[in-house]
């Protein structure tokens, strides 16, 4: 399977990370797999999370909510990758400052991190002035390697994402692999997801990563100075 090879380094490295990390990541991985594998992984990760977090009831139930909403094949899943001729530390540093994400993720308006870096508030723009917002926390953080986040309960949207950074071509190139999930939506949030990702969610994220690449490699976003036609149409 194609994505197991992409993800295996991080999975292999996981035993060195905490079980919380493993739980958080597996949740995200689980959702990309075929249903049967998925439920197995989701179960394991759920149990792991519970074991580590039973001192903190509120969070556990919040995570369970997120997990329930994002489990299996429901919702929007996008996996896209891009390669950059930029040192891995630089790419990681840029992405880790979540405030930077709206610079290349077209649907985001702002991401504001709390001073301690644990939580962040995400605001996305939608059609006709619509705005949706959610709070998220970093569930995995391995410098120059992996970053994963998930929304917290009480948000407009249930979402999780992960990004891995891997050296390729003998370390001269950095490969960034992104996995984003949005739960099956209803109401306002559903309208937003339909607007932001349209019929081709992968294309939307591919354009986001293309902008990231332009920004970090070329130092600017390519434009012909005409009204943008947009890739997702």
């Amino acid at each position: 399977m194609q994505h197991s090879s992409t993800y295996s380094p991080s999975l292999r490295d996981l035993d060195t990370a905490g079980a919380l990390t493993l739980g958080g990541l597996s949740l995200i991985f689980a959702a990309t797999r075929r249903p049967m594998v998925a439920s197995g992984l989701a179960l394991t990760s759920g149990a792991l999370l519970y074991r580590r977090l039973n001192g903190n009831r509120r969070q556990v139930s919040g995570r369970a909510e997120t997990r329930a909403a994002l489990g299996g094949q429901r919702g929007i899943h996008v996996r896209e990758a891009v390669r950059l001729e930029v040192p891995i530390e630089e790419v990681y540093r840029f992405w880790r400052q979540l405030e930077h994400l709206p610079q290349f993720m077209s649907h985001l308006e702002s991401v504001v991190e709390e001073p301690d870096g644990s939580r962040s508030r995400w605001v996305a723009r939608g059609p006709a002035g619509l705005r949706v917002a959610w709070d998220a926390e970093i569930v995995t953080e391995r410098e120059n390697h992996t970053l994963a986040w998930a929304s917290l309960p009480g948000s407009d949207i249930v979402t999780a994402g992960s990004v891995t950074f891997a050296p390729v071509r003998g370390g001269r190139t950095t490969q960034v692999t992104v996995h984003l999930q949005y739960a099956p939506p209803a109401g306002r949030a559903g309208d937003w997801i339909a607007w932001a990702f349209g019929r081709a969610p992968a294309q939307t994220v591919r354009e986001d990563l293309r902008r990231l690449k332009q920004w970090l490699e070329a130092g600017e976003l390519a434009t012909a100075g005409l009204a943008s036609t947009g890739g997702a149409a």
Binding site: E85, E207, K213, G219, A222, A224, G225
Partner: protein, 388 residues
């Protein structure tokens, strides 16, 4: 400013449009002093290039004076006289670093369009459809040049515009076409098409050591221009080209063949009529008569180098023949940045004077008429240079 705009097949107009501005830190604005019409522009004019829009500014061969630079451009200053590559390239992505400048990852804002057709997108180009980025072109008084810190190169004061202008495209294009042939000293190279690209291919093949060049066209003054460079010539309306090539090469075939014709090849044989019928009812996009002939004529194990542009789908493409003879096929938009400095040196040293190809010197206002003249090869037209 004045600019040459496309409004549909055979419909070119000169109109006033807003002046371009610096939009990105690596931009420059060039005041155009000379700009040319390319055979590639004729493909647009002929309606063969998809994703053109009404009002698009044409032109990708231009040079001029720097009048403004973005804050990150330290290599150029206002007042510099430069010639600009028609391919737009960032200089920093994997492809630029590998010297594959026309395949730059970061210069095409509409990469997704090209990806739908090709899987992955090439670089942006000036004035060459939205699939190639939708950049306004250089047949205008001013043009915005992105990545001006890696593209344009300065022109020594001793050289005239007409000597330097073709570094923007057709000289590097002919040179790359010849270089791709991996010419060895005793080689014979056959060149289909004696338009400007063919002319530079012929001269580059000699520069790179070819013993013989055989040039094929039907237009007398173009064949004469080829002969002036030392090529033997074949008029494809007078002789059977494959037969003639076979005889001229002792029954072996040319070591390398260059298709400097592209997707609007004209022909006199059955396959050419078939192409014409199919493209005119949109069942095929390209006419590849010259390319088919080049593949058929090439010696076993030889190289077919294709600077001629193809835009879509080829019908009756003789891949079996290419396979059976173990041919190497090389093609693509020219990596102009790669060749500019070395070719500038050859010009400065007097090894070649590219202005030989210019037959028409006009102003921008003459563009609509000159597209027609160039397309129909009227008035012995080989290359048109416009001074705004």
């Amino acid at each position: 400013m004045k600019a040459v705009r496309f409004y549909g097949t055979g419909d070119i107009r000169v109109e006033h449009v807003p002046d371009p501005e610096i939009l990105n830190p690596r931009d420059a604005i060039i005041k155009v002093t000379s700009t040319a019409i390319c055979g590639s522009d004729l493909h647009i004019y002929g309606g063969f290039i998809p994703t053109m829009q009404s009002g698009d500014i044409l032109g990708h061969e231009f040079m001029g004076e720097v009048v403004d630079v973005g804050r990150d451009v330290t290599t150029l200053a206002v007042g510099d006289r430069v010639v600009v590559p028609f391919t737009i390239a960032c200089g920093r992505c994997y492809f630029c670093r590998e010297g594959l400048w026309s395949l730059c990852d970061n210069s095409n804002p509409n990469a997704w369009m090209a990806e739908k057709i090709s899987g992955y997108a090439g670089s942006g180009l000036f004035g060459y459809s939205h699939m190639y980025g939708g950049y306004p072109g250089g047949q205008a008084e001013y043009v915005r040049v992105p990545f001006a810190d890696v593209g344009p190169i300065k022109v020594p004061t001793g050289l005239s515009d007409e000597q330097a202008l073709f570094l923007s495209d057709i000289f590097p294009t002919g040179f790359m076409a010849a270089e791709q042939c991996q010419i060895r000293p005793d080689d014979t190279v056959a060149v289909w098409g004696c338009g400007p690209v063919g002319q530079f291919s012929i001269r580059s093949a000699f520069m790179l050591g070819a013993a013989r060049v055989i040039a094929i066209d039907r237009v007398p003054e173009r064949l004469a221009m080829a002969a002036a460079a030392g090529a033997e010539t074949l008029d494809y309306e007078q002789v059977d080209v494959p037969d003639a090539l076979r005889t001229m090469t002792g029954g072996q075939g040319p070591d390398a063949c260059i298709d400097a014709v592209g997707l609007e090849a004209h022909g006199t044989t059955l396959d050419a009529w078939y192409d014409k019928a199919k493209t005119s009812v949109m069942l095929a996009t390209d006419r590849s008569h010259a390319l088919r002939q080049a593949i058929g004529a090439c010696r076993k194990g030889g190289t077919v180098s294709i600077p001629g542009v193809y835009g879509g789908w080829l019908d009756k493409f003789p891949l079996g023949a290419a396979f059976a003879k173990g041919l190497t096929l090389k093609m693509g938009q020219t990596h102009v940045h790669r060749y500019m400095p070395q070719l500038m040196t050859r010009i400065a040293q007097g090894e070649i004077d590219p202005s030989f190809v210019v037959t028409h010197r006009v102003t921008l206002d003459d563009a609509p008429a000159m597209y027609g003249t160039f397309q129909h090869k009227h008035d012995d037209c080989v290359k048109v240079v416009m001074r705004p």
